[in-house]
Structures are given as C-alpha cells and as structure tokens.
Subunit: 195 residues, 2 copies
Amino acid sequence: MARKTGSHSEITGPRIRAEAMKLFARHGFAAVSMRQIAAAVGLQAGALYLYTPDKEALLFDLLKDHMDGLIAAWQEKRGGESPVGALETFVRFHIRYNGERPEAVFLSYMELRNLSPENFAVIEGLRRAYETELENILKAGQAAGAFLVPDTKLATMAIIAMLTGVNTWFREGGRLSRATVEDIYWDMVRKAVSG
Amino acid sequence: MARKTGSHSEITGPRIRAEAMKLFARHGFAAVSMRQIAAAVGLQAGALYLYTPDKEALLFDLLKDHMDGLIAAWQEKRGGESPVGALETFVRFHIRYNGERPEAVFLSYMELRNLSPENFAVIEGLRRAYETELENILKAGQAAGAFLVPDTKLATMAIIAMLTGVNTWFREGGRLSRATVEDIYWDMVRKAVSG
DNA sequence: GTCTATAATCTGATAGAC
DNA sequence: GTCTATCAGATTATAGAC
C-alpha cells in the first residue's frame, strides 16, 4: 500500500508541519531528528529540504503561524465593550484559543531558545504585541475606575501566566468542562483586579 | 595554568551538577552533550561517568534535589497562622524561593519528559505534594469562611502558575524590586480568593 | 517531488593507561 | 581521579538518479 514516490507538494508541506509540531512538542526540538519527521510523514529525510531550508526554519514557521493566528483571532474577537466586558472576553478567548492548541502553546514557551536571534526577535515582538492587548484593557479599566490594579504590566503578566497555565493540567473529559474552567478563572481574574 | 590531572572528587561532583544545570537550562537537555558539560567543568567526557551512571541520572539528580529543597524549605517556613496569613506566607515564599533558582525551576517544568517513567513519577509525586500544601491552605480558609473559592484545586493551579510565571519576566535590577513584586502579587492573590 | 547515497561531524558510553 | 582512544551509531544537509 505504501506510496513510494509521487508529486504531492500541496499536501506534503502542511503534513510536514503538522508532524513536526507533534514531535517537537512531545520530545523537544533538539531531540527530534529530521529522519523522524520524514518517517512520520512517510518520506525520506532528503525530501524535507524541498519544503524547508533547514530544521530551525521549520520550528520558526510553526511558532510564527501560531502567533499570527492568535493575534488575528483576537483582532476578530475584540469589541468596543466596557473594560469589564473586554477583560472577560480576553480571559475566555485566551483559555479557549490556547486550550485548543496545546502543542503550539507549549512550543511557543519552550523552544524559543532554539531560534536564531533574528527569528527570536520576531516571535518575541508578536508575543509582546499580544500582551499589550491585555495591558491596554487593564489600563483603560484602571482609568475608568472599573479596576484597581497597582501595576498594569505586572497584572498583565500575572493574568496571562495564570490563564496559559490551564494547559498544564486541563484534560478533555476530566472533572470539569472547558466552559466551567472559563467561568471559574474569569471569577478569579475579575476579583483580582477589583477594588 | 590549566590543571591537567588530579584528584578532586569532593568538589568535582557539585561542579558537574552546577555546570549541567546551567547548560540544560540554557540549551535544553537533549541539545547538551556530555562533552560540553565536561568541557565546562574542565574535564574529559569519560571522567563524568565517575560521578553519574548516565546523562539522564544527572538530570534526575538536579530535579530531585530541587524538589527536595523546595519542600524542605517550605516545611521550615510554614507556621500555624490563620488561613490568610498562611496564604500570604506561601505566596511570598514561592516567589522568593523560585525566584532565586530560575534555572532549576525552568528545568522542573520543561525537561520532565526526558526522565524515565520511574524517575518522572518521583518528581511528579513531589510536585503534587507541594501543590497539596497550597490546596490545604485554601481548603482551610474556605472552611473557615476566610476565602470564597469556587474550586480549591483550580485555584491552586491558577495561583501556582501565576506565581511561577514571575520567573519568565522578572530581571534583577529592573523596574521593580523582588519585595515590591511580592507585595503586588500578594494583593492580587488575596483579592482573587476573597468573597 | 522523491529517492538513494554520502560527506563530515557529533553522540553516549566504555576500556585501559597513568 | 582523570585522560586518551575508541566503538557503534546517529546527526544535518547535499548531490545526483529517476
């Protein structure tokens, strides 16, 4: 049954990225060989270089796509609500979007050190841009008297760490549904920034 | 000046662990070779095997020592205070103890997947025991009416993620001192679990 | 577009000299 | 206690056949 050769550039590229994502997340970037990725896709190692100039570029593409997708999805979601409404939207969005992509999120936190300085700066810039979205909500709420936050930058980092941390323990089919987790986290965040 | 040979078993062991910790944290366990570790200590690769049976045992020792130290330090710190006092003590302890050991903390979160199942279970058990310390504080406070927490397990995970996240952005000599960071995080935690 | 073969190098770990 | 030499195999990436 195994196909030995052929022309499949349109589906092979995405399949390589999908398998690389799985393997990098499971074993770590450095621990995964190009041969392993090729084998998971059903190729020989040499064929991978038709789709990526090298191993690091493969990682960079995965991280870049994730950050672009995250920011684009947020831009679509955000509205002109009150500060409290905007914060609730952010909290629920962050838990849900990242919860659906645990591998990409894990890579984005753990494998940045394997990027070249230039590529690292690109991902870092996107991460900062996303964090600024939350910080702006907190600043607006603080100015409007809706929140009492001693330091908006610290609150931003604290909230994002808390929300992203859901990925480390949440398991589909466990004691709580995603919706319940969202509710409980929103309750804690809301109180944490209150007066 | 370079020493070529000699007998230094009492200091070589700790130096190997210290250099391995630095290198594993910086580049990742899989990306660091035994030769790199040996070079950092000033040894040849073969000499490392006088001090560790293999590379994984070296990682396990680092993680085990860190978890043992964390739990021992907490046992010494904890007192018979009120729930609110106990929570404040935990928050400040966690930020300070982990803040002083960023490399060990990073390893403890990122390199667990490189342990054998048996060694993984040991570290995981210690981590859970530590988390239970916080959960018990939350449960006691909830029972005493000092806290209003919809789910003590979720609140435990949320608080620990939030506190540990300080390590991802805090830099000595930056805008805020460690003490100020502790104050602000304690303020947020206190409100998050309040009624 | 994919394969096979290969270059040049590195890997973890061991044996034995000193 | 440390070094040198070595084993057996893996690594990224490229060249050229098909």
